[in-house]
Amino acid sequence: MAISLDLITGAISFLFTLLILSYVIGDNPLFKIGTYIFVGVSAGFIAAIAVWQVVIPRLVSPLISTSVSITEKGLLLVPLLGALLLIMKISPRLSGMGRIVMAFLTGVGAAVTIAGALTGTLMPQVMGTINAFDMAPYQGNAGLLLESITNGAIVLFGTIFTLSYFHFGARPRADGSMRRLGLIEIFAWVGRVFIGITLGAIFAGVYAAALTALIERLSSLINFIGNFL
């Protein structure tokens, strides 16, 4: 195998995989070195991306370009000023100035999430729960119709019970304790079961993802060694 960029990449990859997998025998300096190098490299990479993909093309280049109109350049002075205010956050004395930018980002972010949650999740999901009972596609097939209604009902009740679990309105009792209404309490209890099922499915998914990552790493180790055999 000739020494190439691929071989160098493979060797480095092999080394770092072993450094990290050494954690199996316990926390050790090799593992620490590997993780610290990784954090440093990742942060440096992100910084380079931020410069080349954000600052230069969206701020610096348009400001120095001759093909950009004066109006556009003038509008870019606002984020330029904002960037300077953000940089002031580095200094403890001037960090308060960064609040203006943070306020802007928070306001814009809140608006975007409100609109997204309302139009992209809340209304479509409610409609999706209702549409599960649409019988039109199953007309003439009693088995499928029954299955569809059953599944739709399970999803509907699962959704309602789960939402009941997140309902925290309570009334004080004679003994001073706070309890939910009786019906809500029962719904919430069933909701816990549904949440448990969902979390169980998510756990299996997380394990599957982690297992695939482990398989991919072990496979790469075997393949690298295989190059020399």
Binding site: F16, V41, A47, G107, G200
Partner: protein, 206 residues
């Protein structure tokens, strides 16, 4: 300062929000929204740089004070600056940056993820010793059934396993997932409205 920050947050938020719903009446709001969002994009990029500078500061302070683990901090700062300047000179899309990504970042992250499988399995086995209640039992049984359904057996095919697993994930778990999604959306809505009404000021305008 407080009045200014609240004013900026509320006005910018309302302008962007109206860009979603009122562009039919005021088409200019779409342009305003795009402008504000592009400003936000630029500022988010700069914020990432400020965050990384803060990381450097923290670790250089540790090195200067010769705290425990300052050796590791020195390694971190060295590789951070090295990668940054390499990326700055060569650009991130250069082949050498590909070596950095494929040789260090991907292997380390994937290996850490692989280690997670051991930890997850360990935690699941020990769960019932820690708390043996109905929720834990349901959680583990569902996890085990979904795992069983996600695999196949040697030489034989048992479709029932896959069907059961899929029914759990696509029907039973769907109810809980949808409930969680709607709950999250409602929570997001309330939090966002509190910010837009100036009730919550997470940007520090107390």
């Amino acid at each position: 300062m407080r009045v200014i920050t609240v004013f900026i947050a509320v006005v910018s938020g309302l302008l962007v929000l109206s860009g979603y719903f009122l562009t039919g009446f005021f088409p200019v709001l779409a342009d305003v929204q795009t402008l504000l969002l592009n400003w936000a994009i630029i500022l988010m990029g700069v914020a990432a740089l400020v965050g990384i500078f803060n990381l450097i500061t923290v670790h250089t302070d540790k090195i200067r004070r010769r705290e425990t683990g300052s050796f590791y901090s020195a390694i971190l700062v060295f590789f951070l600056l090295g990668t940054f300047f390499l990326g700055l000179i060569l650009r991130p899309e250069h082949g050498l940056m590909g070596v950095v990504m494929n040789g260090i970042i991907i292997p380390v992250e994937a290996a850490l993820m692989g280690l997670l499988s051991i930890s997850l399995l360990y935690a699941a086995i020990r769960l019932l010793r820690r708390r043996a209640d109905m929720m834990s039992v349901i959680f583990l049984i569902v996890a085990a059934l979904v795992m069983l359904g996600s695999a196949t057996l040697p030489f034989v095919n048992l479709p029932i396993l896959g069907i059961t697993s899929r029914w759990i994930t696509q029907v039973l778990a769907l109810g809980g997932a949808r409930g969680i999604l709607i709950g999250v959306a409602l929570g997001t809505l309330m939090t966002g409205l509190r910010v837009l009404f100036g009730v919550d000021r997470p940007y520090g305008g107390n």
